[in-house]
């Protein structure tokens, strides 16, 4: 019975995230795009919970739905007068993009469903402790490099966007 519920939940949240993603790329006003983006991120967070990734679901809500969307909204507010307009070559660009994305989807679905995975479902357990231990033992070097990267990005963003 639980399996049926999690499958139903997967379809609901998957439809929410894909629908919001489609809304995001078709909305003409950027603020609407940002709101759709939040919906897509929250749907993906629920999908993470269904894969028993509780820590990542919390990270997804905090970082993506919280921080990155606020950053996008700030950028939208700071660059006024940029409603998307039509114009020459607009249709050709859309058709080309659709061809590229569609052929990528075909190849990805074909290869992913055709692969013979050696499945062994992992037990449901809290992930935070395991991830924390792994980040500070096996992956301590990438962890430290990531902190340097974030510092560099912070300084660089301030320096580039500064009004001098």
């Amino acid at each position: 019975m639980t399996e049926v519920f999690s499958t139903i939940g997967f379809y609901i949240f998957g439809l929410v995230s894909v629908g919001c993603a489609v809304g995001m790329i078709t909305a003409r006003r950027l603020v609407h795009s940002a709101v759709f983006l939040v919906g897509s991120f929250l749907g993906v967070a629920a999908i993470y919970l269904l894969a028993s990734a509780d820590f990542l679901a919390a990270v997804q809500v905090l970082i993506y739905a919280g921080a990155i969307t606020i950053l996008m909204l700030f950028a939208i507010m700071l660059t006024p007068g940029t409603v998307e307009t039509g114009g020459q070559g607009r249709l050709a660009q859309k058709v080309g993009a659709g061809l590229v994305a569609g052929s990528f989807l075909l190849v990805a679905v074909y290869s992913l469903t055709g692969t013979n995975w050696s499945l062994s479902i992992q037990p449901d357990q809290p992930t935070t402790e395991t991830i924390g231990k792994a980040l500070l033992s096996s992956y301590v070097l990438p962890f430290e490099v990531a902190s340097v990267l974030l510092l560099a990005a912070m300084v660089g963003a301030i320096l580039i966007a500064r009004d001098d």
Binding site: A51, L56, L78, L105, A108, T130, L135
Partner: protein, 104 residues
């Protein structure tokens, strides 16, 4: 009908494809960055699904990968938006068609 690995892989592929279409079809630089974030999400869904359904030598390897992807995506978004704001101050536009100084 239980959830299978294919559900997660297909959702990840669809999200990535939608983001790819947006990144290629939109002309506003902020919209392109948003589409790229969507593509990151598609990849993360794939990694989390694989981490749930396939045993690895290190526990939760896919989720650790996803955490590093989120870190790099946050850094990329911050620097990218700073560049967009700098371009807008300089040229009063963020339409990628009109930013063609270095186009041959």
């Amino acid at each position: 009908m239980p959830l299978t690995l294919d559900h997660f892989l297909l959702l990840g592929a669809v999200l990535f494809a939608v983001g790819l279409y947006g990144a290629l079809a939109r002309r506003n630089a902020v919209a392109i960055l948003m589409s790229i974030e969507l593509m990151f999400n598609g990849v993360n869904v794939t990694l989390v699904g694989l981490s749930h359904y396939i045993a690895s030598s290190v526990p939760l390897l896919g989720q650790i990968f996803a955490i590093f992807i989120i870190t790099v995506a946050a850094a990329e978004a911050a620097v990218g938006l700073a560049i967009i704001i700098a371009i807008h101050r300089d040229r009063k536009t963020i339409h990628v068609d009109e930013i063609h100084l270095m186009k041959w």
